[in-house]
C-alpha cells in the first residue's frame, strides 16, 4: 500500500543543535570536503540548520530552521532531468536514481530551495572511517547529484519487516536519521494519507506552513511556525 510520507518540523522546538546534520551524514554516507572546499560552497549537508538573528544587540534572539529537500508534490527538479534520474516514486517522494544521473545539474538549478548537492569530487574517507559506511546506502561517485531521500532505505526496510509480519506499518515506526536523533523531538515523520497519524494531525495545525509556498511546489516538509514570533516572548 502506497504511503504519502511527510515531515513536520516544529520551529518552536528546534534548538539549532545540528545533531540532525551529523546523523544524516552518518546514515547516508555523505562525503565530506575539506575546509577550503566547504568555504567555496561545496559542503554537502542534505539537511542543514539555518540561523536567523532577530532584534538588535543586546536584545537578540537566534531563530533556527532546519532545511532539507522539501519532497515537493509538484517538484521543479523532476521534469527537467533528461534521464529520469530525478523522478517521483510511488510514495510521492522525489527519488534520485544515482546510476541514471549524468550530472547536468539542471535539477539543482530548478530547485527553488537549493536542496540538491553535487559530487564535485570522488568521495574520500580517512582510514578507518571507510569502515563505518552504512551498507544500506550506496556511495556516490564524482559527477552525480544527490539529496535528502527521507532515508528511503529505512522506509523500505520497515515496509519489508511489516510485510513479513503480515501487518501495516505503524505510525511513527519509520524514523529518518534526523528525526530519530533530534533531542527535542522537533521533527515528526509519518504518512499524510493516514488522517490519524501524528504528522497529519500536526499538519492541520494553525501554525502549519511550507517554505516558499507561493511557488506552488506543494512541499511535504511542513513547518510549524514559532508561536512566540507573533508576540513578545
Amino acid at each position: 500500500m502506497a504511503h504519502r510520507w511527510a515531515m513536520v518540523i516544529d520551529l518552536d522546538r528546534c534548538t539549532g543543535c545540528e545533531t540532525c546534520m551529523a546523523a544524516c551524514h552518518a546514515e547516508n554516507n555523505i562525503a565530506t570536503v575539506d575546509a577550503k572546499q566547504a568555504a567555496r560552497g561545496r559542503a554537502m549537508h542534505w539537511i542543514h540548520v539555518e540561523r536567523y538573528w532577530e532584534g538588535e544587540f543586546p536584545n537578540v534572539r537566534a531563530r533556527f530552521q532546519p532545511v532539507l529537500c522539501q519532497q515537493c508534490d509538484a517538484a521543479p527538479c523532476e521534469p527537467v532531468c533528461p534521464t529520469y534520474a530525478a523522478y517521483h516514486n510511488e510514495d510521492g517522494l522525489n527519488a534520485q536514481v544515482y546510476n541514471r544521473c549524468i550530472g547536468t545539474r539542471y535539477c539543482a538549478n530548478a530547485c527553488p530551495y537549493t536542496a540538491r548537492y553535487f559530487n564535485w569530487w570522488n568521495p574520500v574517507w580517512d582510514k578507518p572511517l571507510q569502515l563505518q559506511l552504512n551498507p544500506d546506502v550506496s556511495v556516490r561517485e564524482a559527477g552525480i547529484m544527490e539529496k535528502c531521500t527521507f532515508c528511503n532505505q529505512r522506509i523500505v526496510a520497515t515496509e519489508i519487516q511489516a510485510k513479513a509480519e503480515n501487518r501495516e506499518v505503524q505510525d511513527g515506526e519509520v524514523k529518518p536519521a534526523c528525526v530519530q536523533s533530534c533531542p527535542t523531538t522537533a521533527m515528526v515523520f509519518g504518512d499524510l494519507d493516514d488522517p490519524n497519524s501524528q504528522v497529519s494531525r500536526l499538519a492541520r495545525s494553525m501554525r502549519a506552513t511550507t517554505l516558499l509556498s507561493e511557488l506552488g511546489t506543494n512541499p511535504k516538509v511542513i513547518y510549524l511556525e514559532r508561536e512566540s514570533s507573533h508576540g513578545n516572548d
Binding site: P76, V80, Y84, T104, Y106, W120, W121, A142, G143, L212
Partner: protein
C-alpha cells in the same frame, strides 16, 4: 522569373579564369603563414583537451562552478556558440530566398561558420556534464536499461534541436560545394585528384544536375529557417523553463533568437574581414558587402536594445523581491561593470559606427562587429550566472569565479573553431565559384548548359529548369 540585375557596386568584374585562379589558390598553394597559424592554434588550444581530461578524471570540482551556481561559463559558451552559428544558415537562407544578388560571395563563409560553431557549441553541454562519458543517454535508443530519455526535459529538446540543425546546416553547406569540388577535381592531379573525385560525387554539370541542385537549395533554404529559429528558442527554454528568478521569462525565446542573429552577423563580418586580407579577396568582398551586412547588424543592435529594455523594465516594474536581488546585482552590484561593458559593446559603440554612413566602412564594421562579439558573450554570461547567484532563499546565495580549467577549455574551443575554419578555407573555395560566375551571366546555369548542349548536338532529355539560380 527575372534575375535581378546587379547594381554596379556589387558587380564583380573579373574574368571566369581569373575567378577560378583567385579562389582556387589557397587549395593548390600553401604558404608558410598557414603552417605557422595552424601550429599556434594547436599549441594554444591543446591544453584545453588536457584540462578537460583532467576534469573527467578528477571531477567537476576543478571547474569554478559551485553550489548554487551549478552552471557557469560552460553554459554561457554553449549559448554563445549556438548563437554564433546563426550567422550562416539563417542569413544565407534569407539572402537566398529574397534573391539578394550581393549575397554570392558571402554565403559560403557564413554557412561554414554555422556548421563549425554548432559543432563547437554542441561540445559544451557534454563538457559540462558530471559524467561526460554517458552523454548518449540523452538519445532515444532501445537500451538495456529499458527507459527512454525524458521528453519533458528541455535538455532533451536541446539534443533534438541541435542535432537537427547540425544535420540541416551541414547539408546546406555541402550541397552548393559539390560543383566547386568538381572544379577542383578537374584541375587537380595525383593525391588531390583522388580526394576531390570522391568529394565531387561524380558531378558532371548536366542541366538535370543543376536543376536538382537549385531545387534542393530552395527547399533547404525554406526548411532551415524554422529550424534555426527553433534551436535558439529551445536553448532559451533551458533557462526559461526553470523557476529561477530572472530566467523564468516569456521574452527569452525571441530575445535569444534576436541575440543569436545579432552575434552571428557580427561573427560573419569579422570572418569576412580576416578572409579578405588573408586570402587577398579584395576584389570579391567589397566595401558594399560590409556596408550591407553593417546595416543588418545595425537593425539587430536596435532590436537587441529593445529586447533588453523590455526584459529589464518589466522585471523592475514587477518588483518581485526574488527577481530584484538578481536585477540589482546586475544593474548596480557585482556585475554592473560587466553589464555596462555589454551595453557599450552591443549598442553604444557599434550604433554610431553603423548608423553613420561615413563610418560604415570595412574597418568600421570590423570594429563594431568585434565589440558585438565580446558584448554578446558578456550577455550570455550575465544571463547564466547572476540569477543563479541570487535564488529565492538569501542564505543559499553564492558567488562564482571561473577557474583555470573553464577558461582553458574556453580558449581551446575558440582555437578549435578558428582551426576548423582555417582548414575549411584551405580545402574548399571559401567563395562559391559557380554562384559567383552565375551572378555574372544573364541566363541561369541550367539554361546555359542546356543551350550549350543543344548547340554541340548532344541530346539531353531534361526539362528546362526554372531560372532562379
Amino acid at each position: 522569373m527575372a534575375t535581378t540585375s546587379i547594381a554596379p557596386e556589387y558587380a564583380i568584374d573579373i574574368k571566369p579564369d581569373q575567378i577560378r585562379q583567385d579562389l582556387l589558390r589557397p587549395i593548390f598553394q600553401t604558404s608558410r603563414r598557414f603552417y605557422v597559424l595552424v601550429f599556434f592554434l594547436v599549441a594554444i588550444g591543446l591544453p584545453g583537451i588536457f584540462l578537460y581530461a583532467n576534469q573527467m578524471s578528477e571531477g567537476m570540482g576543478v571547474a569554478g562552478i559551485t553550489r548554487p551556481i551549478f552552471w557557469g561559463i560552460y553554459i554561457a559558451n554553449f549559448v554563445f556558440w549556438i548563437g554564433i552559428s546563426h550567422a550562416g544558415t539563417l542569413i544565407s537562407a534569407i539572402l537566398r530566398l529574397v534573391n539578394a544578388t550581393w549575397r554570392r560571395p558571402v554565403t559560403r563563409c557564413a554557412e561554414a561558420i554555422t556548421v563549425f560553431a554548432l559543432a563547437i557549441g554542441a561540445q559544451y553541454p557534454i563538457i559540462h556534464l558530471g559524467r561526460s562519458w554517458l552523454f548518449f543517454w540523452l538519445m532515444p535508443y532501445p537500451s538495456e536499461r529499458g527507459i527512454w530519455p525524458n521528453f519533458r526535459s528541455p535538455l532533451c529538446w536541446d539534443f533534438f534541436a541541435i542535432s537537427t540543425y547540425l544535420t540541416g546546416s551541414t547539408a546546406f553547406l555541402l550541397l552548393p560545394i559539390i560543383p566547386d569540388w568538381a572544379v577542383v577535381r578537374d584541375r587537380a592531379s595525383g593525391f588531390r585528384k583522388r580526394i576531390y573525385t570522391i568529394l565531387a560525387l561524380g558531378w558532371r554539370g548536366t542541366p538535370r544536375e543543376w536543376h536538382r541542385l537549385e531545387v534542393a537549395m530552395r527547399i533547404m533554404a525554406v526548411a532551415i529557417l524554422p529550424v534555426a529559429i527553433s534551436v535558439h528558442t529551445i536553448v532559451s527554454w533551458d533557462f526559461a523553463m526553470a523557476p529561477v528568478p530572472m530566467w523564468h521569462s516569456t521574452v527569452f525565446g525571441p530575445y535569444f533568437v534576436a541575440g543569436a542573429i545579432f552575434s552571428g552577423i557580427a561573427a560573419l563580418i569579422v570572418a569576412m574581414g580576416i578572409l579578405r586580407k588573408a586570402l587577398h579577396l579584395e576584389e570579391y568582398l567589397k566595401p558594399s558587402h560590409f556596408s550591407n551586412l553593417g546595416k543588418l547588424l545595425l537593425v539587430m543592435s536596435l532590436l537587441w536594445v529593445y529586447f533588453i529594455f523590455a526584459e529589464r523594465l518589466t522585471v523592475w516594474y514587477g518588483n518581485q523581491p526574488a527577481e530584484m536581488a538578481a536585477f540589482w546585482s546586475i544593474q548596480r552590484g557585482r556585475f554592473a561593470g560587466l553589464f555596462w561593458t555589454m551595453v557599450s559593446c552591443n549598442f553604444l559603440i557599434p550604433f554610431p559606427i553603423l548608423a553613420i554612413k561615413k563610418l560604415r566602412t570595412i574597418t568600421g564594421t570590423m570594429i563594431a562587429s568585434s565589440t558585438v562579439v565580446v558584448g554578446m558573450w558578456l550577455e550570455r554570461f550575465l544571463i547564466v550566472v547572476p540569477p543563479l547567484e541570487h535564488k529565492y532563499l538569501p542564505y543559499e546565495w553564492g558567488t562564482y569565479h571561473p577557474s583555470v580549467t573553464e577558461i582553458g577549455i574556453a580558449i581551446g574551443t575558440l582555437c578549435g573553431m578558428i582551426l576548423l575554419y582555417v582548414l575549411f578555407a584551405k580545402l574548399v573555395p571559401i567563395i562559391s565559384i559557380w554562384e559567383l560566375k552565375g551572378g555574372q551571366h544573364k541566363k541561369p546555369f541550367a539554361e546555359q548548359a542546356l543551350s550549350a548542349a543543344s548547340r554541340s548536338g548532344v541530346h539531353l532529355d531534361s526539362t528546362l529548369p526554372s531560372t532562379n539560380s
